[in-house]
């Protein structure tokens, strides 16, 4: 009997939770705010689903109810992707070490 592909996806999911658990515990507390903004950005990979939804209409009928929701989701996810990565970049650029040659 064949294994349902759902089981494989579930395995990926469970293992990723564990990966996430160990990776996030090793994040230094001073970077918890960038951690939140970057997780925000990467969870917007949901744009993948939004693009499929947006392209679901045929060429004579690009805008149907379903694809309109897709397009809206694309815009929302894009705000998050650009906003999230850029604001993280901006924050991380501010973290500087003490200058050794001071005095």
């Amino acid at each position: 009997m064949e294994i349902d592909p759902l089981i494989f996806r579930l395995s990926i999911f469970i293992l990723s939770i564990f990966v996430g658990y160990y990776v996030v515990w090793s994040v230094t507390p001073s970077l918890h705010t960038p951690l939140m903004s970057v997780t925000n950005a990467i969870s917007s990979v949901i744009i993948v689903g939004a693009i499929i939804a947006g392209l679901s209409g045929n060429s004579d009928n690009i805008f149907n109810t379903s694809s309109i929701f897709g397009f809206l989701a694309i815009a929302l996810a894009a705000i998050n992707i650009f906003g999230g990565f850029l604001v993280t970049q901006r924050m991380l650029a501010m973290y500087k070490k003490k200058k050794k040659d001071k005095k």
């Binding site: 996430g20 990776v23 996030v24 960038p34 990979v45 604001v87 070490k97 003490k98």
Partner: protein, 465 residues
Amino acid sequence: MISANLSAIFYLVSGVLFILALRGLSSPETSRQGNFFGILGMIIAVTVTFLSTGNFSTGFAFVLIFILAGGSVGALIAYRIPMTAMPELVAGFHSLVGLAAVFVAISAFLNPEAFNLGEPGNIKLGSLVEMSLGAAVGAITFSGSIIAFLKLQGIMSGSPITFKGQHPLNAIILISIIILIYLLCSSQSSNLFWLLLAVSFLIGFLLIIPIGGADMPVVISMLNSYSGWAAAGIGFTLENTALIITGALVGSSGAILSYIMCKGMNRSFFNVILGGFGATDDTSNSTNKEQRPVKSGNADDAAFLMKNASSVIIVPGYGMAVAQAQHALREMVDTLKKNDIKVSYAIHPVAGRMPGHMNVLLAEANVPYDEVFELEEINNDFANADVAFVIGANDVTNPVAKTDPQSPIFGMPVLDVEKCKSVLFVKRSLSPGYAGIDNDLFYKENTLMLFADAKKMTEDITKNL
């Protein structure tokens, strides 16, 4: 058009890059590279999606237009936002992830053929379960984050909003969500789908209104976690590895942060979620404390104390963010350093309105991150320091947490500020902090209260140094 297998492999690659993005945050040196990995992962995921649909018609042009429109709004916000507003921004971004998840779920429900999930009215059972879970969690994330955003922004009062029968009502709604998902999956009725969304929006709203301002670190982390689970739910529906991996990462990340925040307050997660601090305890603490003597001083006294110190520890809190005092503070510290005084910063896990909030503000003011320490790292140093400068923090310095088992904050880890030779406490008035209790530190022999706006006081001290 590329094959489904090849695109699945690319999605896996982008999932791995996202793991590396989080891994990079283990130290500030590797963090910028980590962010780059994250961006690369996103580019791969989006490109592969375009290639696998193989649809480069007019629809494709519209997709690009919407990406550019959203992207420029996002970029504009990212460059404009002041660092003090980071908690609001993150809450706002969470709400967008939640809403995007809802929209994708709606789209998949209305047009399942596009996603290979069956036909309308006859969607594969597994997909329908995943879809409705993703949509419900997404909706909760959306409305909950909107409330968190309004509270942080100050548009809505930060104090807890409670009413009679709140918890039973929430419990009923949560149970009804489960029943609705069950009914929806057996009947495939679109009316039930809309009802499910409406009820989920409602519960997100109701869950967050009873939570007060200073518990926002927990709420934001929790919503971060929810946004991850919503993404994972949609990832299962779309059978997309990148989305499943990311959802799991973000979900566990938010859960860990909530745990750290709760531990920083010595409160259980449920205690935070079920409602405000003050609401649980309005007893003995208000008695006759008003009469106790307090020593207060001015900028001149403070400058004198610091000038004669050899080491100073700064304890920043949310008040510093409100007063935008971080730059003034750094200038004061620069002057102290010129006088060969050793300065370090002590940060409590729940200082501010989100995890790591104070660290970002200090970094913005050009404070090197190796002068900034976490509670466990620095707590033993207070006994050897000459001056503790408390600016905008309150409950996290209250020695009552160690001495009075009756106190609502008893057992909460606090900074041992009172062990310093002298304590300078910048505060507008003697009013109690968020926990609604008096801070014993105000009345200690070695405490000098500086009643003023944090920024102005810091500037005045610098002038007097």
